[in-house]
């Protein structure tokens, strides 16, 4: 049996709307994952520090303010710089399909917009983390 998946759920930037982040955190916890809820108003630096300290498999960001094209790439950049390239960066919020594609192109994982099912989110994280763990073992 694999080690439980560790996830950091956090909100970068100034947006304080945390309903989605908290619902996701609860769902991941109920799916057997270890969830660290990083809270609000975090800088990308603080998020990456927490991610490294907590040795997470996944960082999930929630951004509803429209600032996602600045915040997601910044967090990805800092994760890579900290040697945490294999950490899955996912999340959700108010992000257009076009922007999701642009973010995927810079290494962000699948993102989940309004109406997304929690079950799909859980399934995605489980599958993707398993894949990354297999890859890193065979590397």
């Amino acid at each position: 049996m694999d080690e439980p998946i560790r996830v950091l759920v956090a909100k970068p930037g100034l947006d304080g709307h945390d309903r989605g982040a908290k619902v996701v955190a609860a769902a991941l916890r109920d799916a057997g994952m270890e969830v660290i809820y990083g809270g609000l108003h975090q800088t990308p630096d603080a998020i990456v520090q927490m991610a490294v300290q907590e040795d997470v498999d996944v960082v999930g960001l929630s951004v509803l303010s429209g600032a996602h094209m600045t915040l997601f790439p910044k967090v990805k950049e800092l994760l890579d710089a900290a040697g945490a390239e294999s950490v899955l960066l996912t999340g959700g919020g108010i992000i257009s399909g076009d922007d999701m594609s642009k973010l995927e192109a810079v290494g962000v994982g699948q993102l989940f917009g309004p109406g997304a099912r929690l079950a799909d989110l859980v399934e995605y994280i489980e599958a993707e983390v398993a894949r990354r763990r297999t890859t890193s073992r065979s590397a």
């Binding site: 100034l14 908290k22 809820y37």
Partner: protein
């Protein structure tokens, strides 16, 4: 034959033989596959009869509009004298962009203004602050100094229109900028009408736009209430809000109880400062959500008025009728709208608005159908405004006052709402009051629990959301709609303009004004005059807020889910 029916909301009700007969026929009939619950996950009774409300005191519980306990409305003549104010929340990009949008809306029949600020402004940061990167003008208009406020209302006579400003932690500062702008237009303070949201307690609970800790934040709120009572008597210094609590995922009765509890906490704070209740209570206002469950919302609004009147008179000793009447603004529920099949949102917003009107709202904002994607386009917001106008002029509901009074179902639901709220008040009291409950993260956990329960019900299909878990269409069939885009140029321009303001002002006047803020903050002096002096000197929002950050400290919540 009379039997006692414990199934009716838990209290025993006397039932006639005919009712028992109906019950048998109903029980024998096939039921649809549905939970028959409201959106707050409350079971809804299949049938309510006069028997369910047999102990209703028509004279004292329902009464007449404009008479205690104001269940039927705060005014005797309601919409027969004046329709609700059509007040669309708006703001994006620069002050110039938003000024154009205000003129667009006023030209199309809106009769009150409502300002949406961007996140940096809401959090007391100037456009050039590190935390503002990527956020300027995205969720609302960027206001960094008096110059922006002047541009925002350019060509709009502030003595002739009322303006609501959705601003909380830095509300006193932003209000000061507004007041100085109006003075520069030539108006006197006592000619100005409007509202500042300025409801800091619900920030800790739901909207999370807090800066300072609760105690100094309450001091700022009381400063504004004191200043309004003396100098700006037509102003509503606080809009005690439930909208955000509901958007964060609370149930209807939680929204009702948490909101009223917050309001009572402000009342108590003012009384503690030695203010007379009748000097400030008439200018308190409220702000509720109007969500999808039509009757639950109408009952909520009516219960709110009744609960408020009774408490203000009987607990807080209000003597003036105006101190006992709850008056509110309504916004239709943003969280009920879907990204999937966005035209459905026009329909949802319509009946949510209708519920607000049937609930007797004084002012109304209707959401635009594209707001699950972005701030509204002109086309979308025009349709949202027309929705109100259609209800006002064509539906007929505004021709008569509180038409649902006497409906056994609605009166029973109104009673249930009131009982539910009282239970919650008792829980809050047990914890030592609102601020104590906030510090225990009680509200936050209650809301998180309700929102998770709701989401699980959506996932299981119990709560149906058309287009999301029912009648789902694949992406290709969903119509692509045009969206408002905020360019990154806005941020660059705002920063450039800010630097120009700073270069052209008298730095000495600014320093002097900031020193006064510091002294008054320390000395417990009402800060409004100092904020107005600083605004006039073109001190920036960030500069003024930073002084307060140093004096009051900043708040960090304990993250819980």
């Amino acid at each position: 034959m009379r039997t006692v029916d414990p199934a009716a909301g838990g209290k025993p009700v006397s039932r006639s033989a005919k009712f028992v007969s109906w019950q048998e026929a109903f029980g024998a009939a096939k039921q649809r596959e549905a939970p028959f619950e409201s959106v707050s996950c409350e079971p809804v009774q299949a049938l309510v009869t006069h028997e369910d409300v047999a102990d209703l005191d028509v004279e004292n519980d329902i009464g007449l509009p404009g008479q205690f306990p104001f269940t039927r409305g705060p005014y005797a003549s309601m919409y027969r004298t004046r329709l609700w104010t059509m007040r669309q929340f708006a703001g994006f990009g620069s002050a110039k962009d938003t000024n154009e949008r205000y003129k667009f809306l006023l030209e199309r029949g809106q009769d009150g203004l409502s300002v949406a600020f961007d996140l940096p402004t809401l959090m007391g940061y100037d456009a050039d602050h590190a935390h503002s990167l990527g956020e300027v003008g995205r969720c609302g208009v960027a206001i960094s100094s008096l110059k922006d406020m002047e541009t925002l209302f350019n060509g709009i006579p502030l003595g002739e229109v009322t303006t609501s400003m959705t601003i909380n932690s830095p509300a006193a500062i932003i209000w000061a900028m507004y007041l100085v702008t109006a003075q520069k237009q030539g108006w006197k303070l006592d000619q100005l009408g409007g509202t500042t949201q300025n409801d800091i307690l619900k920030e800790y609970i739901a909207q999370k736009e807090y800066i300072f800790p609760p105690e100094p934040s309450m001091r700022l709120v009381v400063d504004t209430m004191e200043f309004a009572a003396k100098e700006v008597p037509r102003w509503h210094p606080v809009s005690i809000s439930g909208y955000h609590i509901r958007e964060a995922g609370s149930t209807a009765v939680q929204e009702l109880a948490f909101t009223l509890a917050d309001g009572f906490a402000y009342v108590e704070a003012c009384l503690e400062r030695g203010m007379d209740i009748d000097s400030f209570a008439p200018r308190l206002s409220h702000f509720f959500n109007s969500h999808v469950d039509f009757f639950e919302e109408i009952a909520k609004f009516r219960a709110a008025r009744r609960i408020y009147a009774r408490r203000m008179r009987d607990k807080y000793g209000a003597k003036k009728e105006r101190s006992m009447t709850l008056r509110f603004h309504t916004q239709t529920a943003g969280c009920s709208l879907t990204a999937q099949q966005p035209y459905n949102n026009v329909v949802r917003t319509t009946w949510e608005a209708l519920a607000g009107v049937l609930g007797g709202t004084q002012s109304l904002h209707t959401n635009s159908m594209d707001e699950t994607y972005a701030l509204p386009t002109e086309k979308a917001v025009k349709l949202a405004l027309r929705t109100q106008q259609l209800i006002a002029y064509e539906s007929g509901v505004a021709n008569t006052i509180d038409p649902l009074a006497g409906s056994w179902f609605v009166e029973d639901l109104t009673n249930k709402m009131e009982r539910g709220a009282e239970e919650i008040f008792a829980q809050i009291d047990e914890m030592g009051g609102v601020v104590a409950a906030i510090e225990k993260s009680w509200f936050q956990r209650e809301i998180a629990r309700s929102s998770y329960q709701f989401q699980r019900e959506v996932e299981s299909g119990r709560q149906v959301i058309v287009g999301v878990n029912h009648h789902v269409e694949d992406g290709a069939e969903d119509e692509k709609i045009e969206l408002l885009e905020i360019s990154l140029e806005t941020e660059k321009q705002q920063i450039a303009d800010l630097h120009k303001v700073k270069a052209e002002r008298s730095q000495a006047k600014v320093e002097q004004a900031l020193d006064r803020i510091r002294a008054d903050a320390k000395g417990g002096v009402n800060l409004m005059p100092a904020f107005m002096q600083a605004s006039d000197a073109y001190a920036t929002l960030g500069e003024m807020t930073d002084v307060l950050r140093e004096e009051f400290g900043t708040y960090r919540e304990t993250p819980t889910f």
